[in-house]
């Protein structure tokens, strides 16, 4: 673990990491996974540390996962959501975060609807900034927990074929996963309706196909993406019913995949839209494992970025 190159101040993009650091994170998460299996799910590792969650966009799963991770490490966790922030009072985003920074937290975890916000804040505050999702840009902790889940099921990431299916255009999960999986030696295939496929995605080194059955062919891992009901869906596809008919992952469409395929979904899942319940609850699904692993991976992130070696000195 000591051989990895030092971590940068912030985790804003998967591109901030190298392969050794990814392995360090996954190995650290492995050791924390056990804490969640104890009766008393708490270790004193981050006692006295103040971690701040800033959720400028509604988030249940990610904010809960970070909060539980923080509390299992005995850190003090303070979380703000958009409704309770000063932004509604006309204070600028930058001023809000500078004010928080002046209270000397050890870390800020940020979720925002606009790409680039975590980086912008990271450049202006002394503490570490962890990106918990910025628009359609990146969601590094999700990609790391996906990698953790895949590695646990398959033993490795190298050489796997991972298919990501759904709203490629608006998915931050896709971008972080493409960077991470390629860094770890996996191949990535993306699929979805042509009207939701962003221009130039192939320049990220992925294979692009346009049918779900074709996407899962010989895949080791199938990652379904949420169809964003709340955002910009209008005009990009006609209806949820038609989306299910043409693109959903059903048992029939899964037939061409490898025999030991696993199914992931970053959640929240729309049953009967992008995935049928038979598949979501079926034997190949590791969707709930992802959620449990999410806590372990986020414990690793909080631990590693709060106790970076340069801080110790």
């Amino acid at each position: 673990m000591t051989e990895a190159t030092p971590l940068s101040k912030d985790l804003v993009s998967i591109l901030d990491l190298d392969r050794g650091q990814v392995e360090l994170i996954l190995d650290t998460a492995e050791s924390f996974a056990e804490v969640s299996e104890r009766t008393i799910k708490k270790v004193p590792t981050l006692r006295g540390r103040t971690l701040v969650g800033l959720f400028f966009e509604p988030s249940t799963r990610t904010s809960a996962s970070f909060e539980i991770a923080a509390k299992r490490l005995s850190a003090d966790w303070v979380s703000f959501s958009l409704a309770s922030s000063s932004l509604t009072k006309g204070e600028s985003l930058i001023d809000t975060v500078r004010n928080l920074d002046a209270m000397a937290p050890d870390m800020v975890v940020v979720r925002h609807a606009d790409p680039g916000v975590p980086r912008m804040l990271a450049l202006r505050v002394a503490c570490s900034v962890i990106n918990a999702g910025d628009g359609a840009h990146e969601h590094p902790s999700q990609a790391l927990l996906d990698a953790f889940t895949i590695r646990k099921a398959k033993g490795h990431l190298e050489g796997l074929l991972v298919a990501m299916i759904g709203d490629i255009e608006l998915s931050r999960v896709v971008r972080s996963n493409i960077h991470l999986l390629q860094m770890m030696g996996a191949r990535v295939r993306v699929a979805g309706p042509r009207s939701m496929m962003p221009l130039g995605i192939e320049e990220m080194g992925v294979e692009v196909v346009y049918s779900t059955a074709e996407a899962v062919r010989d895949a080791d891992v199938v990652m379904m993406l949420r169809i964003q009901l709340e955002r910009e869906s209008r005009a990009r596809f006609p209806s949820l019913r038609e989306y299910f008919d043409v693109f959903a992952l059903t048992p029939e469409r899964l037939e061409g995949a490898k025999d030991d395929v696993i199914i992931l979904h970053p959640g929240p899942m729309n049953r009967g839209v992008e995935i049928s319940s038979e598949v979501a609850d079926g034997p190949y699904s590791v969707i709930l494992d992802q959620v449990s692993n999410g806590v372990a991976v986020r414990m690793a992130l909080l631990y590693l970025w709060t106790l970076r070696p340069e801080d110790a000195s």
């Binding site: 930058i94 790409p115 608006l170």
Partner: protein
């Protein structure tokens, strides 16, 4: 006042002039150009050996923000920026508050500019009242008050019928109809060029086709009406092809390109860490588009270079990329960028650059400058091709500091402007 400019290499494509000579100016006009001019005692002399003297440079696309948005820029600060950057004249867009859609605003701009000096200001009037794209502004009144063209810049004229009527009606006053070509449905919520980089960054894109479809439509309307059309800030290869085709068919069509669309592509958004200094409209396009802009300049399809100087307050730009307003400043970077990256890189001759920055703008907009022939206005720009500059936004005369060219090291600069026969002192 009589002024002799002595010993400069005079580059004036309007009279096929490129040699070392003296220029005598009196009473606001050029009086004589000759190898050597003898003068009496009461003449001020500016020794310009080793320098280049050109007709005063003209930027036909700037936003001076006054009236209404003086916190971003004023006529005074914008004209000081022009003078500092080597420009003796600018054409300012109508998207002020109130909009320059009536003669009282036009007259206010002209009087204010005159009072401050530093550079000539030629107002552009609105095409439609309030830039709302619904009914024509009083174009005849605006022309009478002194506008040199009409544009709803900042917004496209979406309504095809209104564009048709504007192209037809403006001919009575010999004004070009100047279009910011963008289909707002196609550009949607976009904040940068749509392509591989917007996809990587997860930022909503403005596709090149948002410009192309509007240009195609407009050119068909030009053909129908016989009107004069000037396309602003051309940014795509496909639109350039459409312009070439229209010119080949003899339509009265001209276009301009900005230094940033010539020198930067959409990767700059990523490389700068999504700096809002790379956010403007039209956005920085693909590398193929950028290369096409250079090609269009070299082959003459593009008529002129204009900066689209669009100042914003630092608090407005110091926000996340999606929220910041579109626009960067250009008056104080254009000349050095062009001298270094276009002339220095041997893509263009100095003569061609002077055409692009002075002669053609004057011709297209019917301005009195653009030439140092005797009898023409005594507006000139002095260039030093050897001057090494590092772009330093903190030293700008403009109120705005937003530029993607900060820290660029460039060779060549404008070192003095002469306005109406007097050296401009900042």
């Amino acid at each position: 006042m009589t002024l002799l400019l002595r010993g400069a290499r005079v580059v004036d494509p309007s009279q096929d002039l490129d040699r070392i000579c003296d220029v005598l100016m009196a009473d606001g006009c050029v009086v004589e150009i000759a190898e050597s001019i003898d003068i009496g005692e009461d003449v001020e002399v500016l020794e310009l050996q080793g320098k280049i003297l050109t007709p005063g440079l003209i930027d036909v696309h700037v936003h001076l923000r006054e009236p209404g948005h003086e916190y971003k820029e004023t006529i005074r600060s914008g004209c000081r920026a022009a003078a500092a950057g080597g420009f003796t004249a600018v054409a300012c867009m109508a998207n002020t508050e109130p909009v320059n859609d009536n003669r009282s605003v036009t007259e206010h701009i002209l009087v204010t500019a005159q009072r401050h000096g530093f550079a000539r200001v030629y107002p552009i009037g609105a095409i439609s009242k309030g830039l709302r794209g619904e009914e024509l502004a009083e174009i005849g009144q605006l022309a009478d008050a002194g506008v040199v063209g009409i544009s709803d810049d900042g917004r496209p004229v979406e309504n095809a019928d209104l564009m048709r009527r504007a192209l037809a009606y403006a001919q009575h006053f010999d004004l070009p109809v100047i279009q910011h070509a963008q289909d707002l449905e196609l550009s949607g919520r976009g904040v940068m060029h749509e392509g591989a980089w917007s996809t990587r960054l997860g930022l909503p894109g403005i596709p090149g086709v948002a410009e192309d479809t509007m240009v195609a439509r407009d050119l068909l309307l030009v053909e129908l009406t016989g009107g004069r059309y000037h396309l602003q800030h051309l940014s795509t290869a496909r639109s350039l092809d459409l312009i070439r085709d229209a010119k080949a068919r003899g339509l009265a069509v001209t276009t301009e390109v900005t230094p940033h669309h010539l020198l930067l592509n959409d990767q700059a958004v990523s490389d700068s860490g999504m700096s809002t200094d790379t956010k403007m409209n039209p956005p920085l396009r693909s590398e193929a588009d950028r290369a096409a802009m250079i090609e269009g300049l070299v082959d003459g399809s593009i008529d002129l270079i204009a900066s689209d100087h669009a100042p914003h307050h630092v608090d407005e730009k110091d926000r996340q990329f999606s929220e910041a307003p579109f626009g960067i400043v250009g008056l104080e970077t254009t000349v050095s960028l062009c001298l270094d990256r276009l002339v220095g890189a041997e893509l263009l001759s100095l003569n061609r650059l002077v055409e692009l920055l002075s002669c053609r703008p004057a011709e297209i907009f019917g301005l009195p400058g653009g030439s140092l022939a005797p009898g023409r206005p005594a507006d000139a720009t002095v260039l030093d091709l050897e001057r090494e500059v590092v772009v330093d936004p903190a030293s700008f005369q403009s109120k705005s500091r937003s530029t993607p060219f900060g820290e660029w090291s460039l060779r060549g600069a404008a070192v003095q402007t002469i306005l109406g026969g007097r050296p401009v002192v900042l």
